[in-house]
Amino acid sequence: MAEIENLFSKVQHSRDAVCRAEGLACVRGAMPVFEGVSFAVSSGQALCVRGANGSGKSSLLRQLAGLLPLAAGVLTPPELARNAHYLGHADGLKAALTIAETLAYDAALAGHGDGSALGDVAMRLGLAGRDWQFVADLSAGQKRRLTLARLVIDPRPLWLLDEPMTALDDAGCALVGTLAKAHLQSGGMIIAASHEALDFADAELLLGSEA
């Protein structure tokens, strides 16, 4: 796993960054989902959001990513979503593309056109030698690994991960853990929704506990 840790060796996020939420509320349709959610995550910290189905874990992450409006509350800094990666349930992968094409597109979206290091990324994520395989032919776990490539290719300080361990085997889960720890070490922040405990998390937020 050493080579994975090295992936972020050149990346250094601001050590003073803090992501703060105060009194967030979420309403879906006419249904209140949660209310009064507050937390702060500073550089190098990971927060694990837990709760039952329907408690609003995914909605909270979508709010943090700026995809869902806040029914109430304040998020600081306001440009939070601009510096965030959001990995949701829908993976945004295109079945008609190959792994190499997917990675090249990830790199282009990140703003660096040269794809020289992409083979390296694929190898480290356990997708080596599959460059010309179509995404349609990948297993759910392999697709998940492929989405992780975005985190590596485009280093952004905040990761918003929705059930990051879904569909992954033991090695895959270990991979996510290693990536997360390397990211935290370089000063990044993680907010992850999960129904099970995550070993890289420093704190837990329990949603839907009051009712």
Binding site: G29, A30, M31, P32, V33, G36, G54, A72, G208
Partner: protein
């Protein structure tokens, strides 16, 4: 959960004051609409038959006000949507949604009466006359708007999508009108739309204006009733939401 519930009520039950006002306005508005309509129809029945068009001239007193209302209805939807989007007044969405089928029915009425009137004059049920054609396109604009409301299940999402369409569609209306008028003169340089020009003799003008006023009040009365129904329906939904929240 209390605060979140207050936010919902801001979205849904805020029209409390509106409901109070609507309850007061409801009866007088309907009485005025029916009274005006009855008086207008009486006046129309007593209009002398036209020396050219005979008894069919009476159709004009329905057709022309209906065509006015088709445009008024869409303008109403536009302004209600702008109010909803810019001033974030939830009642705007309710008003726009309530008015749409009413405007569409007036548009359909304008088309049917136009066709009925045209038949003896043109010898055919449909002519691609500039006025009829643009009213037909307007009907499609209405239908698209109504279909969009119905197709999206989630009410807030539907409301936003519909108001975007209402605004963009409103900009399109004069462009369609202009191009259809131009297209019509291109293809039929000689025949001028006769539906557009009623003889403005006082015998005709007053009944026409009374019918116009009757249709306007009728439009407002139906729209008001539909708005009351819509608010009640949303309150029911919000109440169901409250019940659902209890086990979260």
């Amino acid at each position: 959960m209390l605060k979140a519930l207050e936010n919902i009520s801001a979205l849904y039950a805020n029209p409390t004051r509106f409901m109070g006002l609507a309850a007061k306005l409801h009866m007088p508005l309907w009485a005025l609409a029916i009274g005006l309509l009855a008086y207008g129809l009486y006046r129309v029945a007593n209009v002398p038959a036209d020396y050219q068009q005979g008894e069919t001239v009476r159709i004009m007193f329905v057709h022309v006000p209906a065509a006015w209302m088709s445009l008024f209805g869409y303008s109403f939807i536009f302004f209600a949507s702008v109010t909803a989007l810019i001033f974030r007044h939830p009642l705007g969405h309710v008003a726009a949604r309530a008015a749409a089928p009413v405007g569409a029915v007036f548009t359909l009425l304008a088309l049917i009466t136009g066709s009925l009137w045209g038949q003896p004059m043109w010898g055919t049920w449909w002519v691609w006359d500039a006025r009829l054609t643009s009213v037909l396109v307007l009907l499609f604009i209405y239908l698209g708007y109504i279909a969009l409301w119905q197709a999206i299940d989630e009410p807030i999402r539907a409301a936003r999508a519909a108001s975007i369409l209402a605004i963009v569609g409103f900009i399109n209306v004069p462009i369609v009108k202009f191009s259809v008028d131009w297209w019509n003169t291109l293809h039929q340089p000689a025949s001028v739309s006769r539906l557009a020009r009623p003889a403005l003799h006082a015998d005709f003008l007053y009944p026409l204006l009374i019918m116009g006023a009757a249709f306007l009040v009728l439009f407002l009365a139906i729209t008001l009733t539909r708005m009351q129904m819509e608010v009640l329906r949303q309150r029911l939904r919000a109440r169901a939401g409250k019940g659902g929240a209890a086990h979260v």
